[in-house]
Every structure is written in structure tokens, then in C-alpha cells.
């Protein structure tokens, strides 16, 4: 699992690899550190996430809560179909803003 940060008005955190019980703690720590370093608004680019388990879902939820508690928001962009199916099944589309592209996610912060 790797996280690449593209700085901007809103930073984009691109995740690649798997988000599961073996990587969830690391990803939560990275996301939360970024949020508390003065970037409460975050777009997570999931286009290169190949696999996600329930631990991955809980990691996302933890970061969403952290960002919102810091006055910002954590938004997801371009999950692969299998990941998106899991997000829908777990009700994440109801509580997290999820967009088909990174551009859409970035633009949504201007709303």
C-alpha cells in the first residue's frame, strides 16, 4: 500500500494497493496526520486501490470522522467497480461523498 500526495488548494491523497487489516492502521495514521497538519479537506483518489476489506472500510470511516471533527471533509474519488460495490453494500454512499473523478471531488469543495 502506498499513498502519494498531490498538494493543491485541496490536497489529493492517491492510494494504491490494498486497504485491509494488514494495512489499515498505517493508512489511518497517514490520513489523520495529514488532516491534523492543517489539511482538514482531503480528496482520496481510490483509482489504484485493488482490494479493500472491512478493516479498510473502518479506516476510511475513521478518517472521515477525523476530517469532519477538524472542520473539513474527507471525500472519495473514482473507486473501482468492485470497491464501489462494497462501499454501496456497507452504506458508505449515504454518509461519505463519493465522486466518479478526482476533478469532480475537488470541484465539490467549491459548492
Amino acid at each position: 500500500m502506498e499513498i502519494t500526495i498531490t498538494p493543491g488548494k485541496i490536497d489529493v491523497l492517491a492510494v494504491s494497493g490494498t486497504i485491509d487489516a494488514l494495512t489499515a492502521a498505517e493508512i489511518t495514521a497517514s490520513f489523520n496526520k495529514h488532516i491534523h497538519d492543517g489539511h482538514p479537506d482531503v480528496v482520496a483518489d481510490f483509482s489504484n486501490v485493488e482490494f479493500m476489506s472491512s478493516a479498510g472500510l473502518r479506516a476510511i470511516l475513521a478518517s472521515v470522522k477525523e476530517a469532519r471533527a477538524a472542520g473539513g471533509d474527507f471525500r472519495l474519488a473514482c473507486p473501482q467497480p468492485a470497491i464501489d460495490k462494497l462501499l454501496k453494500m456497507a452504506g458508505f454512499h449515504n454518509i461519505v461523498k463519493i465522486f466518479p473523478t478526482v476533478q469532480d471531488a475537488l470541484a465539490s469543495f467549491g459548492d
Binding site: 490494498t18 473502518r58 454501496k88 453494500m89 452504506g91
Partner: protein, 278 residues
């Protein structure tokens, strides 16, 4: 310490046969299951796994069970019930359950939960309260029959002092049972029921709304269990690219293949997870 692996098979009628593909994938990888949980159609496969049956034996159960004669008389009796010509109460069903019961009896005989090679839990619903009842003892044929009692289609089943219907009414994917019984890793195979674009009869509209309710219960409960569980929950969600009717047993090879395919996607992670000490 070895992680305790459970398999949970939800409701989904003949689609539940996809769990045979999951078992095939696990067997190929030499992965042992420690606990089996099921409800509704999934209870039949949960039982067959817990009894240690091979997939061929479980597949022949499916072929025998899902023949149209198990719902013989449905349309005629539905018309009679709608017209008020036939008395209908909470203890009624539109279909005589004799054929279904005979088929289950032929498959499971006198076997009880004590005959299983791993713990087996089957979820059924108490008709009056709507509460889930979890069985871990008794005759398998009685409990699977009760868990498969589609409301109004098949009559409810009385076990002890409880009148019981389909487990899917209260808990279409009983992950909570595996959580409560101490699983570390849970493979959960669930199925969204098909919905319709066009409906030309009362029965079709009823079926459509029923499936919407069921799918929403499935998603809500999955979301809750996912958020609440401390260990790892691995959903195995087969994708079907064609409509499959409740009695399309000629589609069995395809259903099983899709189950195996969905399982194969999870196997690498499952192996890594099980290799880690708990």
C-alpha cells in the same frame, strides 16, 4: 493462535448454491472452515458444509430441491386466497410443503446438529415478534425447513412453542451470529434479490417490493455488522450478469462458477490474513 474462520451464507434461494463455488475455492487452497452459519436458502448449504459433504453431494441436493413441483398450486391458491375463496391465516401457505419436506428429508434424513463436523448455526424468524432465533441443536431437516419458509408461500413451522418462518425476514445475512460465536475472520456470502423494471401483475409488484425490502435490510445489517465487528469481515459477493429464476437449476454450473470467481478474488488476502498470528 490460529484464527477462527467462519462462513456465513445468506438468503438467496438457488443463488445460495454459489457457496459451493466458495467451498471449492477454499478446498483447493487447503483452507479449513471452523464454523458454518446460514439462513433461508443459505441454511441448506451451511448445513451441508457443517456435515462435511463434498460439493457434488450438495449440488445434487440443489438439483433435486429447486424443481417447480415444490411450489405446485401456488398460482391457483393465490387466486383463491385473494378472492377470499380459501381461508388464509398466519399459519397458512399458498403451497403444500410436503414435496419440499420430502426432498429435505431425503437429503438430511435424521441428521441433527450433533452430527456436524463443525459448529452449525441456522437463523430462523419467530412469526409473531419478528425476532431472529438462532438454532444450534435439533434435527437439521426441521430447522432448514423453518429457515426456508418463505412467508405466505410456505406454511410456517412450529418448533417447541414457536411458530417460525424464513430467517431472511429478520436477518438475511447473519454475520452477527459468527461475531457472537467468536470468529476472527468471517467470509460472508450475500445476495441481492432481483428487482424488476416492468410489472404486470399483483404478484409481480408484491415480489418486487418484497425484494426491495429484503435488499435494504441486507445492506443496513451488513453496514452495521461491518462497523461493529472488531475482527475481519470479508464479503464474497458473486456477480450475475443474467437473470436467474428461482428454479433455473440448469444455471447451477454458472451460479457455482460465479461463487468460485468471487471467492478467488478474496483468497490471496484471506491467506495472508490467516498466516498472521491473531
Amino acid at each position: 493462535m490460529k484464527k477462527r474462520l467462519s462462513i456465513v451464507i445468506g438468503s438467496g434461494s438457488i443463488l445460495c448454491a454459489a457457496s459451493l463455488g466458495l467451498m471449492r475455492a477454499l478446498k483447493r487452497e487447503g483452507i479449513q472452515v471452523d464454523m458454518s452459519v446460514g439462513c433461508s436458502g443459505g441454511s441448506l448449504y451451511a448445513a451441508s458444509i457443517a456435515l462435511g459433504w463434498d460439493t457434488e453431494t450438495a449440488q445434487s441436493l440443489t438439483v433435486d430441491l429447486y424443481k417447480t413441483d415444490i411450489v405446485e398450486g401456488y398460482t391457483h391458491n393465490l387466486r383463491a386466497a385473494m378472492a377470499g375463496e380459501a381461508r388464509f391465516t398466519e399459519a397458512s401457505g399458498l403451497v403444500d410443503d410436503k414435496v419440499m419436506l420430502d426432498r429435505l428429508a431425503a437429503a438430511f434424513g435424521e441428521k441433527t446438529f450433533d452430527d456436524t463436523i463443525m459448529p452449525l448455526y441456522v437463523v430462523v424468524t419467530e412469526l409473531y415478534s419478528g425476532e431472529a432465533v438462532v438454532f444450534s441443536s435439533g434435527k437439521i431437516v426441521d430447522v432448514t425447513r423453518a429457515s426456508s419458509a418463505i412467508p405466505m408461500v410456505f406454511p410456517p413451522v412450529k418448533i417447541g412453542d414457536k411458530l417460525l418462518v424464513d430467517g431472511a425476514v429478520s436477518n438475511p445475512l447473519p454475520i452477527d451470529v459468527a461475531i457472537k460465536e467468536g470468529s476472527d475472520v468471517i467470509l460472508a456470502m450475500g445476495f441481492e434479490l432481483p428487482t424488476r423494471k416492468r410489472m404486470n401483475s399483483y404478484a409481480a409488484v408484491t415480489s418486487h417490493f418484497n425484494n426491495l425490502y429484503m435488499n435494504n435490510i441486507l445492506k443496513s445489517s451488513f453496514a452495521f455488522y461491518n462497523a461493529a465487528h472488531h475482527a475481519e469481515l470479508i464479503p464474497v459477493l458473486p456477480a450475475f450478469d443474467r437473470p436467474i429464476g428461482g428454479f433455473d437449476h440448469h444455471q447451477l454450473p454458472y451460479i457455482i462458477e460465479q461463487g468460485e470467481r468471487a471467492a478467488a478474488e478474496q483468497i490471496p488476502y484471506l491467506k495472508r490474513l490467516l498466516a498472521e498470528s491473531s
